[in-house]
Structures are given as C-alpha cells and as structure tokens.
C-alpha cells in the first residue's frame, strides 16, 4: 500500500458519524509498553533498537486485526510522508522526527497504529470517530493481549507497566478526546473550561497533539494520571462524566448564541462563508478557523434545527462528494484534512512553497463550496 492510496480522502473515523460526533471529533486510546529484558531506548545502541524493531514488527504484522495491515520504516520515509502521517494522527511528531531505527505498523482503515521505538519500545493506538472510548479500549486491550502472548512486557507489581518516562507509569494508558468547542469560545467561556480541566488533572492540547496550540476551536483533552487508577475507571470517567459534561456546556452555549445573539452567530458564519468561497490565498490556520464556524453552523442545523438566515444559506450550499444533499459534516471534515500542508503536497505530487500551498488550499475550498 502507498500513502497516496489513503491521502486523497478521509477515513471512517472522520466521516462525521459516531456518538456525539457534532462536538466530539474523535476518541483515541494509546498504551505505552516496553519489552522485558531490554533497556529503554535512551540507553540502547542502534543495534539494540534494530533488534527491538524487528521483534515487534514481526509480532505486529502477524496479528489478525480484521483489516489489511502494513509497515513503514519511519527513519527511511521521506520527510513529506512523515508530515502526512502526523497530520493524519497516525504517528506523533516525536516519532516522525526522532532518531534511530523506528517504524509504524498500521491498519489500512487507520483505526489501529503501532509506533515502534518512539519514546517507549511500543505504543499502540486505536482511533474512532465520535465518543467511543469503551469500544476503543475493548479493541486495544484485545490487541495488547495478543501481543503479550508473544513478548514479555516490562512490568512490576508495584508500579505496573514500566515506561521510559515516569509520567506514563502504571497503566501506560493515555485517553484522548478531540473536541470542537466553537460556541464556548464565542461566548467567552473557554477559559472556564480550561481552568476546570486543569483542576481535574487533565491535559489540553491542540489539534495535532503534544506541543501544539489549540487552533480552530479544536481541543484535545487527555488524562495525565496513569498510575493508581485502572484503565476501565479512567475510560469510564471520561466517557460517562467528563466528556458528556463538556458536551452539555457546548450545547448550552450554542443554544445561548441562537436565542440571545443570533446576529453574532450569523455574522461569524456569513463571514466564514464569504471568505472561504472567494479567497484565492488562504493559510491553514485561517482555513481551520473559518471552517470551524461552518462546521458549527451545519451541526446547529442538523442537531438543533437552527434556521437563521446564514445557517439556511450555508446548508443550501452543495458540497464536494455530497452532491445529493446539502453541505455535510463529512465534507467539512474532508476539507480540514485535505487542506493540511502535507496532504496538499502529497496529493499534488510535489513539494510546494507556502505561497503555492495557500493558493492550492484556497482553490480546493472554493471549488468544494461553490458547486
């Protein structure tokens, strides 16, 4: 399989289906594991790293995951392709631009990836659309069991799974949920949300994970405590309490906008439409922000029956592949992904400088929104 086989479209985790998908973009769980009897990577020579890589690659490629799986040597992959994998949420920035022999095993439908020799010997992840954490956990737990039948993990009864960094110690689990919270931002309540998450020991990151700013009203929320709390407790806390509560706040903020400030709402949506349908140069940052407003508008129509003039106009646009009906969330999600820098270049077949990317991005968006 080539990356260009998947780069032209979005995969099922972004198709806009899944529980609470109007606000919860995706659910992701990753587990950090190390093989017993090996040092952590910071102390490994390249030879030892290669040995670990081979061992884990062989085990992972033999797994029965219900989908085609394939392997990529990250250190031998061109830089543009590595950027693509990061944009796609398949590997971390750290893995893409780290050092030494390392690789990634992934399912073609992208719900499963395994990074070998990232910070730990092995980091497996399961990714799904909407709020589906317990399903993610069931799946990743099963895969973890299958791997563990073939390799012994570094584990201590006291500290649990032993990880290179003590912050991942214990369960080695990181639960991450990507949220779209434009109304909390517009109504000036986002600071409250950020403070509350800090009080609950949660980490907030941007659309592209560790080290990125929240942009375009997308926030990735994840647990920081991994020791002393079981995996199922962490998952349940996120799925039953934390996320539904935030979703409720965002919904209330949307209702507030609709009933008290429809002009503010319509202004944002109309301006976003006007710019996106007419711009000839647009940066990824600006596109993200404006598409975010369209995404909110369509969702308010579909889930709350909102019919302000701007929302009506927005929903009457015909978009991209959804020629039958109006503009859909899948189309907007597709634009989010396909206008990212590495996606643009990979799909265009060559490296482009920022100015050319801005032009190409604007063209793709214009043509999707002016059909």
């Amino acid at each position: 399989m080539k990356l260009t086989d998947i780069s032209g479209d979005i995969n099922e985790w972004l198709d806009g289906s899944g529980p609470l998908a109007d606000i919860v973009i995706s659910s992701r769980i990753r587990l950090a594991r190390n093989i017993a009897g090996h040092k952590f990577l910071s102390c490994c020579s390249d030879d030892e790293k290669s040995a670990i890589l081979k061992k884990l690659k062989d085990v992972l490629m033999s797994l029965e995951l219900g989908d085609k799986i394939f392997y990529l040597s990250v250190d031998k992959t061109p830089v543009l392709n590595r950027h693509f994998l990061v944009e796609r949420h398949l590997i971390s920035r750290h893995h893409a631009f780290g050092k030494g022999p390392r690789g990634v095993v992934m399912a073609q439908r992208e719900f499963f990836t395994a990074m070998i020799n990232e910070e730990d010997h092995l980091r497996i992840q399961v990714l799904k659309g909407g709020l589906q954490l317990s399903r993610c956990f069931e799946q990743i737990n099963r895969v973890d069991d299958m791997i563990e039948e073939k390799v012994g993990y570094a584990f201590s009864p006291r500290f649990g799974y032993l990880t290179a960094c003590p912050t991942n110690l214990g369960t080695g689990i990181r639960v991450s949920v990507m949220l779209h919270l434009p109304a909390l931002k517009m109504t000036g309540q986002i600071e409250k949300f950020l403070n509350a998450t800090r009080d609950m020991n949660l980490a907030v990151r941007g659309l592209f994970g560790e080290g990125t700013q929240a942009s375009g009203d997308f926030y990735q929320l994840s647990n920081q405590v991994a020791l002393g709390v079981s995996e199922s407790d962490i998952v349940a806390q996120f799925e039953k309490t934390i996320i539904p509560e935030i979703v409720e706040y965002e919904q209330a903020a949307r209702e507030q906008l609709l009933s008290k400030e429809p002009e503010v709402l319509d202004d944002k949506i109309s301006r976003a439409m006007a710019l996106l349908r007419n711009a000839h140069l647009i940066s990824s940052q600006e596109a993200l922000l404006l598409l975010s407003h369209l995404r909110m508008g369509i969702n308010m129509h579909e889930h709350m029956g909102a019919t302000t003039p701007a929302i009506k106009k927005l929903c009457s646009l015909r978009g991209g592949a959804d020629k039958e009906g109006g503009l859909s969330i899948a189309t907007i999600n597709r634009l989010f992904m396909l206008t990212q820098p590495a996606h643009l270049q990979l799909n265009h077949g060559k490296v482009l400088d920022p100015a050319h990317r801005d032009a190409l991005r604007a063209k793709i968006i214009r043509s999707a929104l002016n059909q």
Binding site: N34, K39, Y161, P166, G170, G228
Partner: protein, 165 residues
C-alpha cells in the same frame, strides 16, 4: 519580577482582583501562592518538575545510606543526572535503583498515587499477579472499613484469606 511576599522567588502567578471598582494586583511565586490559599494546580513541564525535585537537599537518611544522586544503575549505567537532562529513564530497573528520588516525582505526576491498579499481563508470573490482586483487595478492604461497609469488608477479608492460602 520577584514574588511580593518572599521577595526571593520569581513571581509566576499574577492575580487581578477588582473590589468595589478598585483594582488590586498580586504577583506571587507558587509556594507563597499556595500558602496564601490561592488555589493553583499547575502542571509543570516534566523537566522543570525534575530539576525542582532533585535539587532539594538530601535528607539525613540519604546522607548516611549513600545518596542515590551519585549512584549508577548497574543494569544500564544511567545516573539521576542523566535523567534530569533527558526526562526519560535508562532501563526498567532504574525504578528500583532510584526509587527514593523518583517517588516524589511519581507522586506528583499521578495525583499522589504510587502503586499500580489495573491490567496485569497474563504472562506475569502467578506470584506477581497474585501480589497485585492482593494489594488491590487490601486497598478495597481499607476503603470498605473507612466507609463502615462491614458486610463488604467481611467478604473482602474472606477473599484475602483464600488468596493467601
């Protein structure tokens, strides 16, 4: 800017209060802010956290028992100094070798917790599995006693006894 209370540390917390239209600004270091009851629960980047924790003076205990600060892991050759620079450990045994120095950090990173709950690899020797399950049963027993749920406590005690046979 220095903290306006201790005048020693860098002020990292800046508060603005408005009372009856009068604006009052406070600039505090984290320590003084905590003493003043200003609730701050910040997540320091791991490197900073490490440097702070490891820079604290060794206790008498440590001075007499030979400080971990200077020891080298016999399995991977790692030192604590390397850990503060890289923020990752050298091998799984470092958790034993540097336990004393790592514990405060582990505690802080995991909201006060220092022992594992949750999945145990099925391959882990039966003893390991048993130990973890026993530990978790004992913890549950403690909670049951604290909340005066004696019926549950009795059940848990039976379970523990059976386990230990």
């Amino acid at each position: 800017m220095y903290c306006q209370i201790c005048q020693k540390n860098e002020a990292t917390i800046h508060l603005t209060e408005i009372n009856d239209g009068v604006r009052n600004e406070m600039h505090l270091c984290e320590q003084c802010a905590q003493e003043e009851g200003v609730a701050v629960k910040s997540h320091l980047p791991i490197n900073e956290l490490l440097a702070n924790l490891l820079a604290t003076q060794p206790s008498d205990d440590e001075l007499f028992s030979g400080s971990e600060q200077e020891s080298i892991c016999p399995h991977c050759g790692f030192t604590l100094d390397q850990f503060t620079k890289k923020a990752v450990l050298g091998c799984p045994y470092d958790y034993e070798v540097f336990e004393k120095s790592l514990l405060p950090l582990i505690k802080r990173a995991h909201d006060g917790k220092t022992s594992h709950r949750g999945k145990v690899p099925s391959k882990a020797s039966k003893d390991t599995k048993k130990q973890v399950e026993l530990m978790s049963l004992r913890r549950e027993l403690e909670t049951a006693i604290k909340s005066e749920d004696y019926e549950l406590a009795a059940k848990l005690r039976d379970k523990i006894n059976q386990f230990e046979k």
